[in-house]
Symmetry: none
Subunit: 290 residues, 2 copies
DNA sequence: TACTTCGTGCAACAAATGTTTCATGGTCGA
DNA sequence: TCGACCATGAAACATTTGTTGCACGAAGTA
């Protein structure tokens, strides 16, 4: 047998898991889920908690290439050793090349995005949520990469207001929806540089129809922010990388949904429970187990 | 003897340290300095490393008020248990009502999400990107709220690899796509608790087909992470609010796309330029001004 | 059906663990 | 100087640990 390129013992375990006998899969899952206890408590203890035979642990270890449980546990222990957590403090940002250039790219990206989130002003989000709460109907627009954010917002809002939320362009040409905007409704437009014509058209349609316009954008001077009742700003360019970041826009969308939900009070909660019950009944989800 | 108000076993140790016999002080200091090894390795091992007698550890434990070394180690183990992640230690979450309750909700949410991002491990993302780079074809799966992340990933990857990236279920029933998985291809599955059957099915299909499986999930024990070649973890539950947060998953997706792009080198860059040129020609974008 | 293989639980095994006892050597006070 | 006391290391102890051999039963094959 050939060693398949060492990495983390946990990933080795996961890789081998599906090809293992049933009982070994169970204990394997148990170990993966409780790896801290696996390193600290005894094999027999674990077996008792997992409801399995102690021997299964030894067999599991051997099945994935270790000489025994002791060796597997030693590997898990080393993998968990806190010394290698590498705090973000004094990380050298000098090297831009070499084997770890990509790792540095990712870390920088994540840090930059993390730094951008707290800079998002909360007050406008709350006000926009109030506007959504009052709206008879909610339209959501987003194109290109912003489409994903629009769809998430659509999904979350629909969980507790199914009949009143609609994604522009979901059920036909955009123009059909644009023509349906009415006073008393709210239109959310998401976009950043470079701005698409379609999103600007949607914003203008909302404005002309007298609907409440909520713009989620990277700049107050974005074309679809013109005439908007609420402008929610995020930093799209804050992160390095080849493409603007949507993390901020997504965070805004999620907060917007959360506040709107909390404004909905008991009624919204009931609706959400109904929706979840329906999904559970359709057995959409994998049942949880110990 | 009077118990001096329990706190952490380590602090108990430090307090009692000066009044202990010389050899016990040495051992005590060793334990305090290497508490991780103290919880994982055996008493005799520690004694060998510390250059002390095994019995000294038992005596130390009794000297601080424990019944024996086992009990001390158990206390240390519990004190180290990672489940108590709770990073926002003493943050007052008391005020949940009042006029600014919603603003506080948003601020907390954003802060929590910002804190979660730097905790995402970068190395696995880079490795996964390499797998994507090598893949002849890339499939992307995500259901319910994860659909939005899946679509963003699909969009960004398609910018520079248009013919080789496909969203599962985009052009017909899912099962059709699941059956098309092949060795040499890569399948990305995105999901978190509660897990959908559909995503688990996709993961299993990928495994069976011998395709490289990349799971973006909230837990290493997620069902679709079983057998995965790469598991990218984010914290879905870290943020307050009525729904798990997708910010982490989105950040991972963006980083994944960015690194894959950078691995693509000149060819990828050319492709991206072509795509952008085409979009510009179709006058998708609003022309920039001042 | 008969045979084989494989997964699984049980129980016995040797090794290792934490604990205790004992002998030694040192320190302090009378 | 003597004796009481305590710290300390080595060895013996009972217990617990991880392991392995064995038997039973299910699944697959000829």
């Amino acid at each position: 047998m050939v060693e398949p390129a060492k990495s983390s013992p946990l990933s080795e375990l996961r890789i081998a898991l599906p090809s293992l006998p049933m009982r070994l899969q169970e204990v394997g899952r148990f170990v993966a889920a409780n790896d801290y206890d696996a390193t600290t408590r005894s094999m027999r203890d674990l077996a008792a908690v997992a409801g399995a035979d102690p021997a299964a642990f030894t067999r599991l270890a051997k099945a994935i290439g270790y000489s025994g449980w002791d060796e597997l546990r030693a590997a898990l222990t080393e993998a968990r050793r806190p010394s290698q957590i590498a705090p973000f403090s004094g990380r050298a940002k000098s090297r831009r090349h070499g084997p770890n250039a990509d790792v540095a790219l990712v870390t920088d990206k994540l840090e930059a995005e993390a730094a951008g989130l707290p800079r998002i002003p909360a007050q406008p989000i709350v006000e926009a949520a109030r506007a959504l709460h009052d709206a008879k109907r909610i339209w959501i627009t987003g194109y290109r990469s912003c489409r994903s954010v629009a769809e998430l917002l659509n999904y979350e809002l629909r969980l507790f207001r199914p009949e009143q939320v609609q994604l522009v362009g979901a059920s036909g040409p955009d123009d059909l929806d644009l023509g349906a905007f009415q006073p008393g409704e709210a239109v959310i437009v998401i976009g950043f540089l470079p701005y698409t014509h379609a999103s600007v058209r949607a914003a203008q349609a909302a404005y002309r129809a007298g609907a409440a316009l909520i713009a989620i954008a990277d700049s107050p001077s974005a074309p679809m922010a013109e005439g908007a009742d609420h402008v929610l700003l995020f930093e799209a360019a804050s992160s390095p990388g080849f493409f603007p970041s949507l993390t901020g826009a997504l965070a805004i969308a999620q907060s917007l949904a959360a506040v709107t939900f909390s404004l909905g009070g008991t009624a919204a909660k009931k609706r959400l429970e109904n929706t979840e019950a329906r999904l559970a009944a359709a057995s959409t989800y994998v049942s949880e187990k110990g």
